[in-house]
């Protein structure tokens, strides 16, 4: 059995248009590495240069936001379902300030 991963429209260029792909891995980080071996570039859209989960995506394991499950360290099992959605956010605020607030709230959420 594998882990089913649901891919949002904006990232389907990496999966040949596929909406759902399969992967394996004991953690979310392992799964993304596995996916990247077949869908090159996908991992780079989800993980920052600093090695953390990108601010612009939400990733869920089954029905839980992975930010509450240890983010990239979130444990996975065969049969799990992973859903990737582009975060919907924005506003009139300048980007630098918004990013600072977001990383702060992500840090709070990770506690």
């Amino acid at each position: 059995m594998a882990i089913e991963v649901r891919i949002p429209t904006i990232l389907r260029s990496y999966t040949g248009g596929a909406k759902v792909v399969d992967g394996t891995g004991d953690t979310l980080a392992d799964l993304l590495t596995d996916l990247d071996s077949r869908h090159g570039g996908l991992r780079g859209r989800l993980i920052t240069d600093a090695g953390t989960l990108h601010r612009f995506v939400n990733v869920y394991v089954n029905d839980e936001d992975v930010r509450f499950l240890g983010a990239l360290d979130a444990k996975l099992s065969d049969g799990d379902s992973v859903t990737i959605l582009p975060a919907v956010a924005g506003g009139a605020f300048g980007f630098a300030a918004a990013a600072a607030i977001s990383s702060h709230s992500a840090a709070v959420a990770a506690r």
Binding site: N58, A87, V88, G90, G91, A92
Partner: protein, 164 residues
């Protein structure tokens, strides 16, 4: 050229949501059948940031609503939010986050107390393209309908939505 055609009752509901949450930013979605480019189901969302200058969908509500759309063979045709002290034009933050290339990004400005500026954009790969908004009056023969446009390029002109 893209045009956003949207029912008057949905625009009214979006404006009412934006007014209700003012001075915080309001946000939401209008779902429609996949491939139809027709917004039919208004879904006001919580602004998890509860901020006058930032909005963010609650991640769990986001998952629930997106899954529900999937089950109903719908997609997010319109993603809207308000700017409460500035113009209805995408900020750099809006562009950075825009992750639904098929959606119409509708912005409502509530900075004026008695009129709203409503404009619509495509945001694809960081490029903003403004498009006209055609408000369709329901209950009238669509071929005979008097529709009007606002929020049309060039972006320097402020178009107001009046008559409410």
């Amino acid at each position: 050229m893209h045009v956003l055609s949207i029912d008057r009752s949905i625009i009214d509901a979006i404006v009412a949501h934006a007014r209700r949450d003012h001075p915080d930013e309001a946000c939401g979605v209008v779902a429609g059948p996949v491939g139809s480019d027709t917004p039919t189901r208004h879904i006001p969302m919580d602004n998890a940031a509860r901020s006058m200058t930032f909005y963010e969908f609650d991640s769990m509500e986001h998952l629930r609503v997106w899954r529900e759309m999937d089950d109903r063979d719908e997609e997010p045709v319109v993603i809207y939010h308000s700017h409460t002290a500035t113009e209805a034009y995408p900020s750099r933050t809006d562009v950075s986050f825009a992750g639904e290339p098929g959606a119409h990004y509708l912005l409502v400005s509530t900075r004026e107390p008695d009129s709203e500026e409503i404009r619509s954009f495509r945001i694809v790969d960081g490029v903003i393209t403004e498009e006209p908004v055609r408000v369709v009056e329901a209950g009238v023969d669509p071929h005979a309908v008097q529709s009007y446009m606002f929020g049309q390029s060039p972006a320097t002109v402020d178009y107001e939505c009046s008559g409410r």
